[in-house]
């Protein structure tokens, strides 16, 4: 194919888009709406998944309570031993006096009724990895290793629940996104088929004057690509705009569960991903639509 023919085909693609204004508008609108729904779903699932993955990190703490009869020196000795454990990253001592002060500060009536400080020293231990909370807690509960400890609490159950939730979000969200992708593909295919159907006479004339299948196909593929890319660009703007507002709303909730979770879904990546999906859907949809009409030479 010579450069003149390539320019001619590009020009034909441009004319197709321009001259079929209403069909172009309908196809673009459909692609944009479908990709907004698809993009919005993928983005939401991804973001929820990021939040869910991040949550266990807030449950990476083990609290170890000394016996009430233990002396401060015993506590400090235990603290040194705990620091040497491979799973422990930070160990913080909360003395019984601090704990008493905290409770007094929070609810003075509670401490007024108590004659003495019944609280034990407490060690707050952060694990290096949230997955190891359970393991560290089990180590500390071993009475042979740590007889000075009265009780050990951890968030192992919560961590397991959050990780299971993250997996569930990925699974259901991934399945729903796949279903939406197939639905988008089908709707775009039908929309482009309508535009091709409107031009079946033109296609027949092209065949009769000796146009090869690819010569007929290329302008229509370019048209499909245009629908996909422009539809995806519109969808990207809507998804990113909507996403920003949702993020702002979530921030306003000040929920301790949500916090400031960094995301991999940057605006550029979201737009690139949607344009890639749009291009694929537009090209595949138009190829399949045209194929039907080009079967008969």
């Amino acid at each position: 194919m010579n450069p003149s023919s390539i320019l001619f085909l590009l020009h034909e693609g441009y004319l197709n888009v321009r001259r079929n204004g209403l069909m172009t508008f309908a196809a673009l609108g459909t692609v944009a709406v479908m990709l907004t729904v698809l993009g919005g779903s993928i983005w939401s699932v991804y973001r929820i998944s990021e939040y869910a993955q991040h949550q266990p990190q807030t449950f990476n703490e083990v609290d170890a309570f000394m016996n009430t009869s233990s002396e401060r020196d015993d506590t400090l000795a235990v603290m040194d031993r705990v620091k040497k454990l491979p799973d422990a990253s930070v160990v913080h001592l909360v003395t019984r006096e601090q704990a008493w002060q905290d409770i007094t500060h929070q609810d003075p009536t509670l401490t007024e009724s108590m004659p003495d400080d019944p609280l034990p020293d407490k060690l707050e231990i952060e694990t290096r990895d949230a997955k190891n909370v359970q393991h560290l807690a089990d180590l500390l509960r071993d009475k042979n290793a740590f007889p000075e400890l009265e009780a050990v609490t951890d968030a192992g159950a919560e961590v397991r629940m959050m990780l299971a939730f993250a997996r569930l979000v990925k699974l259901i969200g991934g399945g729903a996104s796949l279903g939406l992708f197939i639905a988008t593909m089908f709707i775009v295919y039908n929309t482009i088929r309508l535009t091709v159907f409107a031009r079946r006479r033109e296609i027949r004339i092209m065949q009769l004057v000796g146009a090869t299948s690819w010569f007929i196909r290329i302008p229509l593929l370019l048209e499909g690509l245009f629908h996909g890319v422009v539809g995806a660009a519109v969808a990207s703007i809507i998804v990113l705009f909507g996403g920003r507002h949702i993020a702002q709303f979530v921030e306003q909730l000040h929920s301790p569960l949500i916090g400031d979770v960094p995301t991999q879904a940057t605006p550029l990546r979201v737009a690139a991903c949607l344009i890639l999906i749009g291009s694929f859907v537009g090209l595949t949809g138009s190829y399949l639509s045209i194929h039907r009409y080009l079967k008969h030479v």
């Binding site: 023919s5 004339i205 092209m206 009769l208 004057v209 000796g210 146009a211 090869t212 030479v297």
Partner: protein, 242 residues
């Protein structure tokens, strides 16, 4: 099967249903440079024959060659190249409504990969031949039926085809305009292109007195060297050739 003739049919049958074939056991040979009218009433099989000749239809039985191509064995990928040797004119003109007169004619050249300067030269030449140099920028909807048919003919001849097929080219035109179109086809034939016109327009057939092939109910019933339309042959018995 390929031969020196422009068109050769041997025992060709086209069937859409088993009991009523559209074309029955047709034998026909048309040499290069001939002008032939295919006549017959509506539904006789004229259009089926023409569709066969540009490979818009496949034979059910028999052998067919056109412009050196064996249409029984031609590959689908070769059909566009075969069609570039043929110019086709339809009763409804078959012009692209969104393209101007000039663009419609140029389109047939551009699909063959012709460059801009070649296209400009050949389109201008075709417009001159059909007498349409005055409206190159008009859309088909802005010109008369006769002018649209002239544009369709210009598009058909712009690739300098070996064969021109015209299916009822005067079907939508008044008698004076029809005669002008036929004179144009005769002019194209005189410049060396084989012309085949399917029609049931008796005055134009009788005025030119060229070769006439009559089809009734899918069978070739008459093949006259310099013939007339002759309604009684078409309406009545078959095989009553002169």
């Amino acid at each position: 099967m390929t031969s020196g003739a422009m068109i050769e049919l041997k025992g060709v049958t086209v069937s859409y249903s088993a009991d009523a074939p559209a074309l029955k056991n047709a034998d026909l040979c048309i040499e290069r440079g001939e002008f032939v009218f295919i006549v017959g009433p509506t539904g006789a099989g004229k259009s089926t024959l023409l569709r066969l000749l540009y490979r818009g239809e496949k034979v059910t039985e028999g052998a067919i060659s056109v412009a050196g191509y064996d249409l029984n064995t031609i590959a689908n990928k070769d059909v566009p190249y075969f069609r570039r040797k043929i110019g086709i004119v339809f009763q409804d003109y078959g012009l692209l409504p969104n393209k101007t007169v000039w663009e419609n004619i140029a389109f047939a050249l551009r699909v063959t990969g012709a460059g801009r300067s070649e296209t400009r030269r050949k389109v201008q030449d075709a417009l001159e031949k059909v007498g349409m140099t005055h409206r190159p920028d008009a859309l088909p909807g802005e010109i008369s039926g006769g002018e649209q048919q002239r544009v369709a003919i210009a598009r058909a001849i712009v690739n300098e085809p070996d064969l021109m097929l015209a299916d009822e080219p005067t079907g939508n035109l008044d008698p004076d305009t029809s005669m002008g179109i036929v004179q144009l086809l005769k002019f194209i034939n005189e410049r060396g292109t084989t012309v085949l016109v399917a029609t049931h327009d008796a005055p134009i057939v009788d005025s030119l007195q060229k070769r006439v092939v009559a089809i009734v109910d899918g069978s070739i019933v008459r093949d006259d060297e310099r013939g007339l339309y002759r309604h009684q042959i078409l309406a009545g018995k078959k095989g009553g050739a002169n």
